[in-house]
């Protein structure tokens, strides 16, 4: 048994972490959080240059040709640093093209997605929190008419992968020209969302399975949530080691120590859960769908709990906008709701596990 990351994977995490420590110190993160569009082009380019945006894109199309596990462990680091921008939708769009695009589409888009020259996004949710492929009702013709909700960065996107009725996917190229975008006040300002309306929007069908795309997003959300939860704990521990009350650091109070220990014990074991979910996506087809749902439901919930507990562990300072912990609190809310909330995926886990069938 060797359930551990390879040296290459650890090195990859290190180099992404190094980049983000330099490019995204907390004041910069808050600036982007407060900015008009929540997208820092310089950071985006730097991520592209490092290969982060094309990890799962084939080498022959300018990517690194790696697997979901590699993308997931990098996503954990992005989550840890609260990385703002279109990453999640972008990676998903690239994956959809890799899985279901024809050669021409791949050649046209993948190299530019890999280096971040283009931004991709996915438009999946419909009203009534309808995130799952079997819930989509948008008629999928060559011209789209209807709406999608909570789409990541549609205003910046050069291409949009859209989920349509029957669980299919279609590709909208240069949506800026054919899609109407209604910006929303995003709670998590590191992942901006908007509603989009299609009016005779030209679209071309993509092959591939929307279920696979959904599972990929669930794994990435789980990885992001794990990184975010870890960051909340690190911040609280740092603070507990410096903040003094009653003549000693607050970390010396058993009440606070136990509070943080409980959160850590809640979060830390979940690392293996998202690793395995990513590995299953890559290599254990029978278990992939179930584990993706389980990892997302479980870890997003852990993240939210960790963010709430560590907010309290800081006291008043964490209730401000100037102190960055709220960025992770809001990311936790996003990770929990995006692609469907916890109970949706727990119900899917229960179904997919076959518990109801006689053993």
């Amino acid at each position: 048994m060797n359930f551990d990351l390879s040296e290459e994977q650890s090195a990859l995490q290190d180099s992404v972490g190094r980049l983000l420590r330099n490019e995204l110190e907390q004041t910069r993160l808050l600036e982007i959080f407060d900015s008009e569009d929540g997208h820092d082009v310089r950071l985006w380019r730097a991520l592209g240059k490092l290969g982060v945006l094309g990890l799962m894109i084939d080498e022959k199309h300018g990517g690194t040709g790696l697997k979901m596990l590699d993308a997931a462990v990098v996503t954990e680091i992005l989550g840890y640093h609260g990385t703002p921008g279109p990453y999640l939708g972008h990676v998903a769009a690239a994956l959809a093209i890799s899985l279901g695009g024809n050669d021409a589409q791949k050649e046209r888009w993948l190299p530019r997605l890999a280096d971040g020259d283009c931004v991709g996004t996915v438009a999946l949710a419909e009203s009534g929190d309808a995130w799952q492929p079997d819930e989509w009702a948008l008629p999928g013709q060559a011209a789209l008419n209807g709406a999608k909700r909570n789409v990541l960065y549609p205003g910046q996107a050069d291409l949009m992968v859209v989920g349509v009725a029957g669980g299919g996917l279609v590709l909208v190229e240069n949506p800026a020209q054919s899609v109407e975008v209604t910006p929303l006040p995003s709670l998590d300002a590191t992942r901006r969302i908007a509603h989009v309306t299609f009016r005779d929007t030209p679209a071309v069908p993509l092959g591939g399975s929307a279920g696979r795309l959904r599972d990929a997003l669930l794994v990435l959300l789980a990885a992001d949530a794990f990184g975010g939860a870890r960051r909340c704990i690190d911040m609280a521990v740092d603070y507990a080691l410096t903040r003094e009350q009653f003549g000693q650091v607050i970390g010396a109070f058993q009440g606070l120590k136990h509070q943080l220990a409980n959160v850590a014990a809640d979060v830390e074991p979940a690392r293996g859960l998202y690793w395995y979910a990513a590995h299953a996506y890559d290599a254990v087809p029978d278990d992939a769908e179930r584990m993706a749902a389980l990892a997302k439901a479980h870890i997003a919930e852990r993240f939210l709990h960790a963010a709430r507990e560590t907010t309290q562990a800081h006291g008043g300072i964490a209730y401000t906008w100037e102190f960055p912990l709220h960025v992770w609190l809001k990311r936790a809310v996003f990770d929990r709701a995006y692609m469907g909330s916890t109970s949706v995926h727990r119900a899917r886990v229960a179904d997919l596990s076959g518990w109801a069938q006689a053993g």
Binding site: F253, G316, R336, S341
Partner: protein
């Protein structure tokens, strides 16, 4: 055991209802003048400011918690205005009635009760939150004035308040708890700088307040020099009982049930979903427990008996309720949780308004003594466990 309030109180209830029917309509809520006029009439009728003497603008009623409860129930049922909200009425006035000089009561209580001035609570400092008795803002008596220098933080609504009641270190050589005085400060003077802090919600309710040679008359002190800590305990007691009120949570819960009725899960109203029903019922359990716990505390207080450790638990109990409500609300509002509630003309705020409850439930867990501090209080004062050497939680 008798849960009815008794004939006398039911007759009183009828009287209150008749009064409201005659004097209040929901439309009045939008007109500040009508609200003020209503408060005056309700005070004259003996329904508001019951424990404040008439000469200070109160209705000076004999203490009767059941009448107070009936009034609260009937007024909140139709959202008729009750006492002015804010630290002035909730905390300063009771403190002045308990510990203030009579000229202070005469000068400060009437305008506070009329809502003409409000008060900021100047307790917390950057270095002093849970360890409140370590406050460092200095006050020095020079001639017939205190000269105050230092800084307060997290001061709610200071930007809207005329005055502040503050804990100020006036006896630097005395032991920690004996070196503090309770001073009243006019915030509208040179030397006071109020800097609003943006909160996690995006709104700015609390502030930093800086004092640079701020002056206040020598006799604007409540209690004696060095007695500020004891005086503040009186205020904090009022703050904590305020927070422990079950009524607000009953209302919030009713709204949550409404959300469950109006949102869908698996194509059916969420209220039909077994998981939602189970979680609602769990919250209802805590809520009703707390409600009857407060009835019991009320009855025992009435009979002059001590309800025991439960009195130390009220704040933690409602804080925990807030966490449970937040968790279920997240689940019910689903995608609306992706949005920040933004209040501006022309924008409709939907279920994302529950994000305010989400954040508020964290604010409550910190403000007025964090949950850890509450647990220390429950353990030490409620259960009689040994006091922590350092964390003197009171």
């Amino acid at each position: 055991m008798d849960l009815s309030y008794g004939v006398e109180y039911e007759a009183f209830r009828e009287e209150v209802r008749a009064f409201i029917a005659e004097n209040w309509s929901r439309r009045d809520a939008r007109d500040p003048q009508r609200v003020t006029a209503f408060r005056l009439r309700a005070t004259a009728a003996g329904y508001l400011y019951r424990n404040i003497p008439r000469r200070f603008g109160g209705s000076e009623q004999p203490a009767d918690v059941l009448r107070a409860q009936v009034i609260h129930e009937e007024f909140s049922a139709v959202r008729a205005p009750m006492e002015i909200a804010g630290n002035g009425v909730r905390m300063l006035v009771p403190t002045l009635l308990e510990c203030g000089a009579s000229w202070q009561q005469e000068k400060f209580i009437p305008p506070t009760v009329r809502g003409e001035v409000d008060w900021a609570q100047g307790y917390s400092e950057p270095g002093s939150g849970s360890d409140l008795a370590s406050v460092r803002t200095r006050g020095e008596l020079v001639g017939d004035e205190w000269i105050v220098n230092g800084q307060k933080i997290w001061t709610s609504r200071a930007q809207l308040c005329r005055y502040m009641f503050a804990l100020v270190r006036t006896e630097p050589d005395a032991p920690k708890h004996q070196g503090i005085s309770y001073l009243l400060l006019d915030l509208h003077q040179p030397g006071v700088t109020v800097r609003p802090l943006k909160q996690i919600t995006g709104q700015s309710t609390f502030n930093e307040v800086f004092f640079d040679d701020v002056r206040t008359p020598a006799d604007w002190i409540v209690g004696r020099r060095g007695e500020g800590w004891q005086v503040s305990r009186a205020t904090l007691k009022h703050e904590r009982t305020g927070i422990g009120n079950a009524e607000t949570y009953l209302e919030q819960f009713a709204k949550l049930v409404n959300v469950a009725r109006s949102t869908a899960r698996n194509g059916r109203p969420a209220i039909e979903d077994p998981i939602v029903r189970d979680r609602l019922a769990e919250i209802e359990g805590y809520l009703q427990a707390h409600r009857y716990s407060t009835f019991r505390q009320l009855s025992m207080n009435l009979a002059g008996r001590n309800p025991g450790p439960v009195t130390t638990m009220n704040k933690l109990v409602v804080t925990n309720l807030g966490h449970l409500i937040a968790a279920l609300a997240q689940e019910l509002i689903g995608d609306a949780s992706l949005l920040l509630p933004v209040y501006e003309p022309g924008r409709k705020v939907g279920n994302e308004r529950w994000m305010n409850q989400f954040f508020g439930s964290l604010g409550i867990a910190i403000a007025g003594g964090t949950s850890n501090i509450q647990r220390n209080i429950i353990g030490e004062r409620g259960l009689g466990l040994p006091r922590d050497r350092t964390g003197d939680a009171s």
